[in-house]
Amino acid sequence: MTAEELLGIADQLFPTGSEGRSLRLFGGLACWRHCPKTRNLFNYRPKDIDVFAPHVDMLPLTGRLKKLGFGFRMRETYKGGVAHRFEETTGSEVDVWVGSLKFNHRIPADSRLKFDWPTLPLAELLATKLQIHKAEGKDLTDAVMLVAEHEVGEGDHETINLEPLARMCRGDWGLWRNVRDNIDRATRLCAQASTSLSDEIAGNVNQRLDMIRRAIDASPKALRWHIGALCGRRGCRYWYDVEEFRK
């Protein structure tokens, strides 16, 4: 399935009304959706749909996905909720995460879902990419794409809100560490990709990444952050391991 087709499916998955309002798109497709101007600058197309909901009745959603050609394949509890996987005959997948948005780090998104729809707010969307402990090229590409197309600052309307990013890093040294590392990696990636990015875009990305870095560094850190730093700097594991679906 092409990214455009997946986007069409995703749009049908989120009907207006209270039912659809509890679901949020995230992952590569959400980034792609948010970046109509810059997405073609990168040689990367999302292949799957990732959906998050703090609470949702899965039966109606399963029915809707069936109508769209996605059969239920498996479900599995994880630390923080239940993950559901649906597959389409061509191999495209829809993963629905019900509970917490928790991967290498927990991204507290529940209270801020109202600020965007049908995707996660941009700050949280970016955080899901920057929290990855061993971020791959496509994750960094998504992050660069988001930053290239959106201002950083205050507010959530087509803007990456610095306040929630700084807040989530304030109490979690591990998250802060990985976000910082990935900002550095994204900066390097941007330099490598400078042939496909105009100077203006590359300059904007670097400037905005630097603003994010300064914002998360400048926020006053909680006691938990300092305790995490003590442990993390001494070699303790500061991220959660994530494992793949296994049937």
Partner: protein, 533 residues
């Protein structure tokens, strides 16, 4: 179902490692409690049994059980244990019954262990300490705590407290287990020290001195043996082997709980390494303590004395546990206090671990659509709060039932129900091995994770736990029934629990089918993913 089929997308967070698996399982069989309580239980049930043979038989049973669950938990790293393994091979109804029976037995254990924490944990500890120290007020407090009604109220309070702690999620629970394990080890270690520091003669002298000083008439060493003889509680060397075989279920009961981590499978990272490692290390730790500790205890107090202390006519002031006799030997107040606090921690943490296991079982029933769906949710600390609340309600109900209605706080039927679930998992492993065999490429993967291993341990588990199930039904004492001729009670309990489970299963299935119709779905689409191809 495809073994080790991995998908390219990652994301499932798993928090427990091999150390946590070890801790959960060690608290599962409650090292401190098993060491303290089981020698008296085995002595009273099979006076002629040799403790080393009983433990060896129990260990063999545990090894089959441990490998079967360890293998399953490694290749199916999912929360739910029996429910997942049995459903895969025998279908969802049998899978649910196996899990429902096990969970019911464990919830009964949750209730009783909370009660025993005071009745057999705190009260004897206070009594022993008070007597050794000559502090009458502590002995009076022990008597108060040890009354059934007081222990029930305190047990209810403990259950609620443990429920509240469990709401704060696994992060806090992990830390609690680490600290408690280190502190709790003081109990078994001090007991071992006590029994290794004296010989048989010294023990008799110390014991008799203590009994005389406390004016406990009729409880001196020779009187105890005489009371045991009067009730045929005397070892007979000629019956050692059959009596040891008869006590196999109790030998296994000593280790029961060492596979609890399998029920939290989704939360264990690198399950193929961590599960089996943690399970076997927990088993090895228990076996070491039990062989040395119980063996030495039998040697020091004498087989005849250990058998006789179960005589009905005897009324020890603080129970007939191993800790009581260790306390008499230790005498030192600080050592006594540390030992008793250590033992008490095991009593308190066992119901906590049981609550964790049961709440995850209940959560997974809900996630897998055999139980109301709202129970699947987690709270802000990522704990399965609704499922834990259901477990708490069941536990409270069981304790009130046992204390106020049945007037029997023994784990009636629990051994049989647990053994039946393990038996069904053994049968599932045999069936599963047949399916794996068809996939020849999987056989080459590993020396351990192959069809032959599943078949071998599956057969072993099925045979051993077939016997444990039958024995638990045949011999009332194994299920905590104190008088003979009541074995059908256990059968009635199994039929009752499985009947209730079937009603819930088919009742909810009916509701689900109508809901699925509305969404254009079928049962196979929702349930089929666990069934092996």
């Amino acid at each position: 179902m495809t073994l080790h089929r991995v998908y390219r997308k990652s994301g499932l967070v798993r928090q427990l490692d091999a150390r946590d698996v070890f801790l959960i399982n060690t608290f599962g069989y409650a090292l401190g409690i098993a060491l303290t309580i089981n020698p008296g239980l085995i002595g009273g049930f099979s006076p002629s049994a040799n403790i080393h043979i009983v433990l060896t038989l129990g260990l063999v049973a545990a090894l089959f059980n441990g490998f079967t669950y360890g293998l399953f938990a490694s290749v199916m790293p999912k929360t739910g244990g029996d429910f997942i393994y049995v459903t895969t091979s025998l279908g969802r109804w049998i899978g649910f019954l196996a899990s429902f029976g096990f969970t019911a037995a464990q919830l009964y254990g949750f209730a009783l262990n909370s009660f025993w924490a005071f009745k057999q944990g705190l009260a004897p500890a206070l009594a022993t300490y008070g007597m050794v120290q000559g502090r009458a007020e502590i002995v009076r407090a022990a008597t108060f705590v040890g009354t059934d009604r007081t222990s029930m109220y305190l047990g209810l309070g403990l259950m609620i407290l443990l429920f509240l702690i469990s709401l704060f999620g696994l992060g806090l629970s992990k830390q609690l287990l680490v600290v408690s394990f280190l502190a709790g080890l003081c109990g078994p270690v001090f007991q071992l020290y006590a029994f290794f520091s004296v010989d048989h003669k010294t023990f008799i002298a110390l014991y008799n001195n203590f009994i005389t000083s406390q004016h406990l008439t009729g409880l001196d060493y020779q009187s105890v043996i005489a009371a045991g003889r009067a009730q045929h509680l005397l070892p007979d060397a000629g019956r050692m082997l059959p009596e040891s075989l008869k006590a196999l279920p109790l030998g296994f009961l000593t280790f029961l709980g060492f596979t609890y981590s399998a029920y939290m499978g989704s939360e264990v990272r690198e399950a193929s390494k961590s599960q089996l490692k943690g399970i076997l290390w927990a088993l090895a730790c228990g076996a070491g303590f039990f062989y040395f500790g119980m063996g030495r205890y039998y040697h020091v107090v004498g087989n005849d004395f250990n058998a006789a202390i179960s005589a009905n006519s005897l009324n020890f002031p603080s129970g007939n546990s191993l800790a009581f006799f260790a306390g008499i030997i230790l005498r030192n107040p600080a050592a006594n206090a540390v030992m008793n606090i250590g033992n008490l921690l095991w009593f308190i943490l066992v119901p906590f671990v049981i609550l964790q296991v049961c709440s995850r079982n209940i959560q997974v029933w809900s996630v897998e659509y055999v139980f109301p769906r709202f129970i699947a949710g987690t709270n802000r600390y990522e704990a399965p709060a609704a499922a834990a609340f259901v477990a708490l309600l069941a536990g409270v109900g069981f304790l009130l039932l046992a204390e106020l209605v049945l007037h029997n706080t023994n784990p009636i039927g629990a051994v049989a129900l647990s053994a039946l679930s393990i038996l069904l998992s053994g049968v599932s492993a045999i069936i599963y091995s047949g399916r794996l065999k068809a996939r020849s490429h999987l056989e080459k993967r590993s020396l351990l994770f192959n069809p032959r291993a599943f078949r071998f341990f599956g057969w072993g588990t099925a045979i051993v736990f077939g016997w444990v199930t039958v024995a638990a039904a045949l011999f009332p004492a194994i299920s905590g029934l104190t008088t003979g001729g009541e074995w059908p009670v256990v059968v009635k309990i199994i039929i009752g629990v499985y009947g209730l489970g079937s009603m819930i299963f088919y009742g909810y299935r009916r509701i689900l089918i109508s809901q699925l119709k509305n969404e254009g779905l079928t049962l196979e689409e929702i349930w089929g993913h666990l069934l092996d191809e």
